[in-house]
Symmetry: C2
Subunit: 149 residues, 2 copies
């Protein structure tokens, strides 16, 4: 078994800390990308920065659905503290699924995503309070292996 | 906006209802695949049955990580009511991510997954109580589109 880390549960798994808040009055959803932990567990190419790509899916034609944080060099904790807003009704939001992927740019300037979390927004609260949680990041290599099983 | 359905939030999005329970005494995790709703929203080939593939990732070498329900023809609600057990410590479980994918068999007997939910187990309770929730299913076509944006 693994040594438990007080701050976020375990030392082995890369995680992302996200906050969410739905503002009923202004009909908008706030997504806070707080930080990443343990990005060493997926192989970032040397001297490359990583960033978080957020997608609120399926995309609608009337509002933004894709966001990217600034890029940072890997370290034990990468703090972003960025917030993204989506103008959307609560009913429509509850039908969406959010992907939060950790990506980098390849030398040929292609976006390469290394690991991600996927969060169903079916039960997003409309209380106006901000909820913050840590989510495990699933390495894309396990997804690929799974589809070969 | 969409008409709200009392039972599960909305009429448009395919969803899966899953239950989870961690049994501290026997160190095992129970996953209940209760039912699917609105599978008409992803294109199941005619006359094909669908089933749910559960994966608890990353796989470890000492316990099962991949499970499949029986297959059923698509209808508004597909009730499975199946339970799968994983022998695992709570600390190890909290580092896992679960995929619940809706799949079918192609004519060439390849498994084809149409849509899925991904659930971080970082904050799984060890209270021994069963928690049941509906999760939106993200169609694989949106994942593919995303990686072309």
């Amino acid at each position: 078994d693994t040594v438990v880390n007080e701050e976020r549960g375990s030392l082995d798994t890369a995680q992302i800390q996200l906050g969410m808040k739905y503002d009923v009055k202004d009909k908008r959803f706030a997504l806070y990308v707080v930080q990443l932990s343990n990005t060493a567990s997926f192989a970032v190419p040397p001297n490359e920065k990583v960033y978080v790509r957020i997608a609120v899916l399926p995309c609608s034609e009337t509002t933004s659905c894709l966001f990217r944080t600034k890029a940072e060099f890997p370290q034990e904790y990468i703090r972003f503290n960025e917030v993204f807003w989506v103008a959307i009704s609560h009913v429509a939001l509850c039908q969406k699924t959010m992907r939060a992927d950790v990506c980098c740019m390849t030398k040929s300037l292609q976006e390469q995503c290394l690991a991600g979390a996927q969060i169903s927004l079916a039960e997003v609260s409309c209380s106006g309070e901000r909820y913050t949680s840590w989510y495990n990041l699933l390495n894309y290599k396990y997804m690929k292996e799974l589809n070969r099983m």
